[in-house]
Amino acid sequence: MLLAALLLIPLLGTVLLLRAGGRLATVLHAATTLATVTLAGTVSVAVARGATLSGAAGLFRADALSAWMIGLIGVVAGLAACEAPRYAHGAARRFYPFFHLFVFTMLLAVTTDDLGVMWVAVEGTTLASVFLVNFERTRASLEASYKYVLICSVGIALAFLGTVLVYFADVTRFGGGEHALRWTVLQQAAPELPGPIVELAFVFLLVGYGTKAGLAPMHTWLPDAHSEAPAPVSALMSGILLAIGVYAILRFKPIVDVAAGPAIARRWLVGLGLLSMAVAAAFLWNPRHYKRMLAYSSVEHLGLVSLGVGFAGPWGLAGAMLHIANHALAKSVLFLLSGRIRTAYASPEIEAVRGLLGRLPLSGPLFLAAMLALLGLPPFGLFVTEIMIVGAGFAAGHTVAALAALALLVVAFAGVLRALQPMLHGEPGQRARERRTWASLPLIAALVVLLFTGLAWPPGLATTLARISAVVTP
């Protein structure tokens, strides 16, 4: 019931917003967001208290892992929605409906128990967001959206190939049926599934969902799409959509670990994770556009998450899940602020941005704080999760990989800091008009949460993370 409402609200909002314009559209947008965020919070809390929700005869299901993602989607969507009216202005019908449809597809992807439906929903995220990427209808945004839809559709088609192979493995042993792609069913069947086929399937699934997660070498669409989209859409895409790619891989991982042995998933995830971090570090050494810098930093962080999932163990998985959350908060705040910077300086180039702290007296310092959080400096949460993930590597005996990850983190750190420093200082020029302080309150709140995940875990967080790890550990 709760899950059905969670899915129906954004869908209803989409339908209504298709017809609404002007002030009514803004009100409807706010109402839909508020209801979605409230329901997402309710689901997360209910599951955190120990329940597993399900609905529609088991088609929808929310365990600890799903609830974690639902909560994050709620948070990032809420943050992005607050900034959305600045961008939707005058073209509400091209913005709001797709925004909420996008949120709906993401929620569907993490609440369904059927891995086939999950695939449809993940592909749906691409199709719902492609017109948002092309919202500004410039040459660059058109190019970005074409690449986005083509590369992601092809990638996700490969994930479909993997899904078909998993279904085939299940059907050959158990005769199939309508429920053969249910995660709960597959997990029980896993010990009986033929290893070589599951292994083959996993390669396709990893390449496919890895494309959505922005893992190198399938990341090429990401910097274009994330930098050309309006800021709230970039926040959603970088903050949470990439993590949904990881979520999809995580759902298959315990099945593969049981059917084909744990070495396969580990090897691939560690390899792709390191490659992503290396590709990102190479770019981050000398970035030119600040939004592209943020986008490549997402490749880096998702690479780190992939490493954490690959290293596994209690620290690796918990670290990866918390890192997803930390990254979601820091990155969505940064993308939303980058939209304000873009408006103030009318340029996407790092070179054009000087004296940020003086020109935007509120957004500037916030940008600095969020940037330091993203770089993994204490006392912010990303510091803790980076330590957890690298530590998991040492604990699992992947000394070389863990050391390489550390080195790549340092390279990216130095590069980003080098780009950030001149942006902050220098001649501010004319002080830009900042919106009222309350408009920045959600962003400040997100940064405060990041302090909590770094300094003092709120009660229940450790239990929640342990329960998530238990879900994906066979």
Partner: protein, 213 residues
Amino acid sequence: MKDLSNFLAFLGLLTTVLMAWRQSRPARVRLLALQSLLLAAQAVTIAAFTARWGLLLVAVTLVVLKVWWIPRALTRMGAGEPPRPLEPGRSAGVRLLVVGALIVAAYAVVLPVTASSTLPTRGGIPLAFAMALVGLAVCVTGRDAVGQIFGFLMLENGIFALGLLAAHGLPGLVEAGVFLDVLVVVLVAEALVMQIRDRHASLDVDLLRELRG
């Protein structure tokens, strides 16, 4: 059933090879429609021999969507453009050699699947897999936007054929979702391709080079 299904799968792969060979867009559109018709025939064959009547619905959807609607959309996208990509790419001989290599690779990769299947349609599994691989190759080497979309649809058809031959179709809900997905992908692609043509007066994707680094 085995012979008929294998024969249809073979014809399906043949259309894929022909599509990789031919560069003329109208010819490719016709071949894609023919391939989708063969897929529908495959679905009907399996339905008739295994009494899975749901597959008849799949066949009807295939005909409406992939034999009728998508070819029309592809024709619209390319209307008024020269029927071939701007300049000839590599020679047809090299292309066909690559296709041949991919078919061999498909046989090798998919061996565990074929070996563990007990279905009478298992003979076609490597062929379907090869269809998917060749489609992927056509997509990534495509020189114009419509050519890339062709590749994507060939890949999609290959995976669909794999689902039919290896598992006699997927759960109904997933099948419906996949059809919806293809429909929306083509709609979105058409909208974007039309905008690209408006802006660049061409389908050449090499003109899309604003975003670098």
